[in-house]
Symmetry: C2
Amino acid sequence: MNIGDVAALTGLPAKTIRYYEDIGLITPQRDTNGYRRFGESEAHKLGFIGRARSLGFSIEECRTLLALYEDQNRASADVKRIAQGHLELVDAKIAESKAMRATLGHLIDSCAGDHRPDCPILEDLALSAKEGHD
Amino acid sequence: MNIGDVAALTGLPAKTIRYYEDIGLITPQRDTNGYRRFGESEAHKLGFIGRARSLGFSIEECRTLLALYEDQNRASADVKRIAQGHLELVDAKIAESKAMRATLGHLIDSCAGDHRPDCPILEDLALSAKEGHD
DNA sequence: TCTTGACCTTCCAGTCAGGGGAAGCCCTAT
DNA sequence: ATAGGGCTTCCCCTGACTGGAAGGTCAAGA
């Protein structure tokens, strides 16, 4: 398989796959013409990485997860710990986003959105940090 | 006010303030010794930017919001449109994060987290995309 | 056989929003 | 006079790619 085939197979852009080779996540063979040659195993790894990335794991977490995946002597506790650490991060981000969303929602509701210049959104940004919202 | 004072006042790191000058968000005066000199107006702008950033607005959105803030002939509709666009983005991110969170939560729950190698998390990453989760 | 076009290669630069740190000036207190 | 802290510019680093240029390779069609 050439890079285009494995890109189509995994849904990852060819550029991304080259990048993953660059940083040592994968090490595809090379044909005599210099083209990367991907076998089952490399394609499988790329799928693994793609799915881990889509769950929000960082590249370094993906690297660790991949190593654990290939380590027959792993302890599932190690995998679980990584996943839990990531989960906490996701939860923190959700909480932060929700707080922003709430403030934004209130501000938007309070803004007339017409041709006049008066705007509670700008007023809040301008002199905030005194009275609490909500 | 020197940069350190306005940094303490606004809570923004001095590096960030210099960066904001670099990209033209603010244009502080200079003392004869080359130090940046911040007046009321610049400090106020920095507070504005800091609060807008904390609501997740991008730098470019901050630039536009700041311009609207200083335009006495603005229409609040313009402000509202920007805020609504940003709100949609935040909502999309929350939705995506929640989906990741749900999958992660299920996977973590199903993993024993002990010394044995068997791990549903790795199994899912390895051969996912066939059976639906949940 | 030649050419066209799709595919592949490397390398360089840019994204976003700053952060780290070096080298060197300035100001104040002791 | 000297020590320290603050200020300046400058350049590189981050994560995870993405875009584009310049050029090699391959299969199909005229």
